[in-house]
């Protein structure tokens, strides 16, 4: 049985959730910057309660049956398992939709397939991050098809869509990262005034999506932090999304600046997130070439991009850079897997020594993602998430055992 103190604590938190007025019910989760602060707080609170429930052996299953479809148009291990875990926790069975990889399919094919797989489905999780200007658009096209199907009586329920990474954002990652920050710093309030450096880092690989750095600056800028975005000249992110981050810091009482020196950016940082990405203009060129199926051109682009990356091998996060941060002990974050020098590659985003200091922290960081996804599901399907959580407490069903 759950301890009385824990139970009271959980019920107190659930009462807090009942006070929140999110606008999440019936809405897809595609971009954090389309959501209200109340929405984000609700998801973080619900995710946190679900995590505690599971730790206390309380089963939060709210679906007796139903499918959660995973549509991975790019490889994934950790997000795939997070999605599967979240679905399973709430009672849904995962069914994979295996499409030809990285296709650009639109129109009737998308509309029809979206309906055909959804007759008894409650959620569709989509990863589509290869083509610039396509991933998020594809999700919206699926969403429109589902609206159409639901309105026309084809679908008994409008399945919710969860963005599992697109060309613009990676909201399940950034929200999990936010939960990690809250857990490390004690509260969202404590993050005010903290300096977070989202820095480009060297990697011998090419074509890493921009969605993580974009997602991080766009989300973290809403909590009053001082955001510093560091990258070698030319390694820009999508300008419109940087603009959102700039506006957010203005509104939340933080600040935003761009730096072109990894070292400079590290000074007095509270939090550092060194992570490689392919620059915007390369992604644009790549998408154009992919669209034309120009294999030669793609090879050339990769070659030149890697050659350019190689000029910035000193953009590796190591103990020397760590020493520059606040008290020499900023929190290092990464979405994993990191390119670790001497471990997963000759030279990469982070030195082995620096990574090892924070290895367990990065694992904990990743551990929030299943609960973030489950919270996105719960708040999409239940208008009053606090009430359903209370129902789970009252019902008091064990996750493991015979009672």
């Amino acid at each position: 049985m759950i301890m009385d103190k824990d139970q009271r604590d959980l019920e107190k938190r659930i009462d807090g959730i009942k006070q929140l007025k999110p606008s999440l019910y019936g809405h897809d989760f595609l971009l954090t910057w389309e959501k209200e602060e109340e929405d984000l707080r609700t998801i973080i609170e619900v995710a946190s309660v679900l995590k505690e429930m599971r730790a206390a052996n309380i089963s939060p299953k709210v679906f007796d049956s139903g499918l959660a479809i995973s549509n991975f148009r790019d490889n994934s291990t950790r997000t795939r398992f997070s999605f599967a875990s979240a679905s399973n926790l709430l009672g849904l069975a995962v069914q994979d939709l295996d499409e030809q990889k990285s296709q650009i399919a639109h129109g009737e094919t998308v509309r029809e397939t979206a309906n055909m797989i959804s007759f008894l489905s409650d959620f569709i999780g989509i990863r589509d991050d290869i083509f610039l200007g396509e991933g998020n658009k594809y999700m919206r096209e699926v969403g429109a098809a589902l609206d159409d199907g639901f309105e026309n009586g084809v679908l008994p329920v409008r399945p919710g869509i969860i963005n599992l990474q697109c060309d613009m954002d990676h909201p399940t990652q950034s929200m999990a990262d936010m939960m990690h920050l809250i857990s490390v710093f004690g509260s969202a309030e404590n993050l005010k005034g903290k300096k977070l450096v989202m820095s480009w880092a060297y990697s011998p690989s090419y074509g890493k999506p921009m969605s993580v750095p974009q997602g991080i600056i766009a989300l973290m800028s809403r909590f009053g932090m001082n955001i510093e975005l560091a990258y070698p000249e030319g390694y820009d992110l999508i300008p419109e999304i940087v603009e959102i981050a700039v506006k957010n810091t203005g509104a939340s009482g933080g600040s935003f600046r761009v730096s072109h020196s990894m070292e400079e950016s590290m000074r007095d940082a509270d939090i550092v997130y060194p992570k490689s990405w392919a620059p915007y203009h390369i992604m644009q060129a790549r998408t154009e070439l992919l669209r034309k199926a120009d294999k030669e051109g793609l090879k050339e682009l990769e070659k030149s991009c890697l050659a350019n990356n190689a000029k910035f091998k000193d953009w590796e996060f190591d103990d020397d850079k760590l020493k520059l941060t606040k008290n020499g002990s900023a929190l290092y974050m990464h979405c994993l897997p990191a390119d670790i020098s001497g471990v997963s590659c000759d030279r990469g985003e982070v030195s082995a020594a620096a990574f090892e200091r924070y290895r367990v922290e990065t694992y904990r960081e990743a551990g929030f993602k299943p609960y973030v996804i489950a919270a996105m599901m719960l708040t999409n399907r239940f208008e009053n998430p606090g009430e359903i959580l209370s129902g789970i407490m009252r019902r008091n069903r064990r996750r493991v055992g015979t009672e």
Copy 2:
């Protein structure tokens, strides 16, 4: 909570099911023409009740655990999801059996594998539609192996087999189509005297199975409809199955005729089903070549078949042909995906305008399939399906929620 009126309506329908005396218990569902009319009516009624239950948030889960094995020896998206949805609705977990595609395996391998995967399985859904004379035979071989295993105490339960499309029939499709017709026309009785045209249609692809047109004429002919089978000369279906349809219409008070003009056939039609297939003699030749693994021969055959198809590009269903039907508004049906001219191909089975008129209808048509499969499962495992449905009502478990 479910509305009292809905509940009374559901209970009335369930009472009706209790009056039926099907012979489905413990029998595989392989071909509609092996089943009694009472069997088909029972499945349609049970499927219909399951659909309403789910819409009313009543969970019809009757398995607390158990596997449903899907064995797709040909590609599938919609039937795969329908099978997964049906299994999940009743409480079974889907486990895929991945075999080398399109193999012709017989003897000990089939017998042994059938038993090895079935120790804790309740159903095996099989799609095997590539080889003429093989698919249905394979299903029966699996069935005999399961009988043997069950009789010898190897298997605690004899898993039921559901034909998810073979060389002869596609019963989950035709039964879903029948439910759609009943839904559109109000009742099975209302279908008496209606003219249904199962017509070949042009497609730039080759080797489409005959199981859908065969399944449609063999099933719809049992409900007193006037069936017209239209195709260019040479595009025959398996003669024995056409013979079944002819006999059925005789017994049910309908009629059956063959036409070699798509246009002529459309006159005064109430229902039209324009769909491409590869002719019987081509399928025979193809199976022979596949058996010999004669790659050159297969290429040649495909070439000559496509060239012959191209003579019949005017076998496209369009608004002009629609105008010829009863009141210019026959119900258009398709098992999807359709080859839509100017959408999925240059020229295909149906014009974009004609398809768009019925697009939502074809989606609704497809939406019955998960419930047909679930009904096949329920009637296979429970001698009195009405009783088990009453048990579901009494138990009153929600599909979504905490109660």
Copy 3:
């Protein structure tokens, strides 16, 4: 409803389990020879009760949610389905981890992946039997990573690992085989003094793992049987594991001898297990070549190994050899699929006639595996398996039905 007599019988067996003091709680199941006799007896008893429960339509589901991860680094059908069945029986959803096949990955990749997939997982089943000296080592590396993650608060639960076949042992196979022997001979006690021949047999295939014969001699030698290990000279198993079997027979009151004549070995045998394997020195050479990715060398090795195998085509188990056994009716065993002469190959491990005599027996033998795996799971997660089984009886939930 379950019969009262059956129920009393089940409760009596469960009372017996409560008397046992296994050390299985929280421990991975990697090698039978690391386990105490009490451990093995407990697993066999629990597996047996679970099998009877399911036959009596009692659902032993003890997980309301949770993932069971299957990590197959080599092909599998029957063990894959056994793992899926066991997981499903207890309430867990299977999630496959698809890695590049047969890789040797160590260090940070293994440690990180092990944690990333385990946030909401209860078990990881691993098959890794390609590389000598690697498979079991890999499982321990995963285990150490999970310990690390659990101790550091990354994982809420330490998932248990189940060896689904490695380079050394195949414990779910040998334990299922032991259950089969107990079922055929009436009790474990009745096995004392019986002669079991684990014999090499000819196969036209190459590179079959040694884990089955090793697992069989290491386990069966603990029950007072007279073990005879027969193989052509040069076809040795790993010497350290043969040594374990020798010691075990000493301790259990049985005997152990090696023979180089299949015929001689069969005399007066009570149980025969004719099964092909690749010899130790070939496996060593193969692992070395695989490590160097020496494709030419591998081809050469395969060729020479097959040529050597061909010298021993008379190591086929047939009716003549059967006649040599005790009363001409020893129990034939095989882990399946067997290479059956004239059925799955021209000439193989067993003649068609001899196999057919025992075909159904080999199916029954295989049917214990899902319950062995489920028992390994149950005893890993519940300190007092007898208590949890009593809880299942008290709860009295049907596997099939609405009650």
